[in-house]
Amino acid sequence: MKYFQTFLRYKYLLLNLINRDIKVKYRRSVLGILWSVLNPLLMMAVIATVFSHIFKFQIENFHLYYLTGAVIYNFISEATSTSMMSVFSSAALIKKVYIPKYIFPLEKCLFAFVNLLFSLVAVAIVMLISGVRFTFTALLFPVPIIYALIFSIGMSLILSALTVFFRDIVHIYGVFLTAWMYATPIIYPMEAVSERIQTVMKLNPMYYYVQYFRDVVLYNTVPGIRWNLICLAFSFSMLIIGVLVFKAKQDKFVLYM
């Protein structure tokens, strides 16, 4: 209850910080918004051209297959990697006034969420061009995104807390993100790897969010209860671990900044 009141009190600060990030990214350049729609489209064009020639396997609607995966991956990757530095780089503020420190990673996750909304425009454009039907199922697209958001917030809380103590995690995480991308079926289909590897790959939460998003947007399928429970379990365990780690460490932050 007390925590909730504090959160409400700083809601306007949260909005202000998000607003400022949006201003910096989108309003300062006319191309800002256009660019954030174009960027995923261009990336998609490059990847699709390259890989459709290299790979033996055929994926129906490869452009959209890739884009739907990439959009989810980019969201989690952007949210967590921008959050990482957020607490540490707010040192000046944290040492001057009392602010609930989780505001900073939370803000970065929500800003990444805003950016994701623009990439969804790119998804819609590709759906139009490639003639995929817009169905009512596709309206479920916010569900996997919300799962991914909760997951990202949990992970960001952990990463931003650890970064205060160990600055070099930033570099390690950069490498990890690249590995994570290749470990998730974004460019290739799951069936392209052996059964054994598939079992390992199914431990990857990102796989479930990506697949969920594809199911509703691309395949007109509603994932079952089991799939939803797996997503919920991943998201909320990460959030709970994140809250616990952050809470245990936050009083020590000022000593290391």
Binding site: R9, Y12, L13, L93, K96, V97, Y98, F166, D251
Partner: protein, 244 residues
């Protein structure tokens, strides 16, 4: 009389930054070569202090003795390494004015930004906006980026935002020395107004005159410990005698 602030057994230990271990690599190297120890520094050592509601309380002491650290612990910016602090009521900390000011933004935008940093809502700032601007007397500069302000002008804006609330406890760290003498008088008047309204005030100042003029009681801190607590005159006189 109820207590506004109860500080019991508070100590604050900082890591000295001689050789900061801030990466996994260094940590592992130090760990395996058995060199992992932190130089610790006690900025505050077993502080016990009770401040009554409605009281004007002064903290004096030489540079680096721990006054600002104590104020930050009371305001919740730092958590003490040991001991506990019990605060009753809302706090307006005037410790570092203008936290979060973005000098590229105008004074108007910064009032909203800094206000939100202090936990004000948008409606609240909307309502108090004119009052804040009136206090700064900077009407014609309100839409000018703050990088073009003098340091005194920046301080005016910061002070005006921080004191627009009616807090139960006001914490003031040396900020009365900013601004020209007219503005200093105005700040002191604002603080006296709050005091007469029943607000508890905790002041740090190097101006003994100011402390004598405002405070009911004073604590003298030396090297992180309380050297003396008592009536203003008594403590101040002993402090000036021994420090000279």
């Amino acid at each position: 009389m109820s207590n506004a602030v109860e500080i019991s057994g508070v100590s604050m230990r900082f890591n000295m930054a001689k050789e900061k271990v801030d990466s996994i690599k260094e940590y592992l190297i130090k760990f395996f070569t058995h060199k992992l120890f932190f130089d610790e520094f006690m900025a505050l050592n077993d502080i016990n202090l009770t401040i009554e509601a409605g009281e004007v309380f002064g903290l004096i002491g030489l540079n680096g003795c721990g006054k600002s650290t104590l104020l930050k612990i009371i305001s919740g910016i730092y958590k003490p390494s040991t001991g506990s602090v019990k605060v009753t009521g809302t706090i307006a900390p005037l410790i570092e004015l203008g936290a979060g000011f973005d000098m590229d933004l105008t004074a108007r935008e910064n009032i909203y930004l800094n206000g939100s940093v202090l936990g004000y809502s948008k409606e609240y700032i909307d309502n108090k906006f004119d009052e804040i601007v009136d206090f700064t007397e900077l009407h014609q500069f309100i839409d000018v980026p703050m990088k073009n302000f003098s340091s005194g002008m920046v301080a005016r804006v910061g002070f005006a935002i921080a004191t627009v609330t009616k807090p139960d406890i006001l914490i003031v760290d040396e900020i009365l020395s900013v601004g020209d003498f007219l503005f200093q008088e105005k700040c002191e008047k604002r603080i006296s107004d709050l005091m007469s309204g029943g607000t508890t005030v905790i002041i740090v100042s190097h101006s003994i005159d100011q402390i004598k003029r405002l405070c009911d009681r004073v604590a003298w801190i030396e090297k992180g410990k309380i050297k003396m607590i008592g009536e203003t005159e008594e403590v101040c006189n002993l402090y000036t005698q021994t420090s000279n």
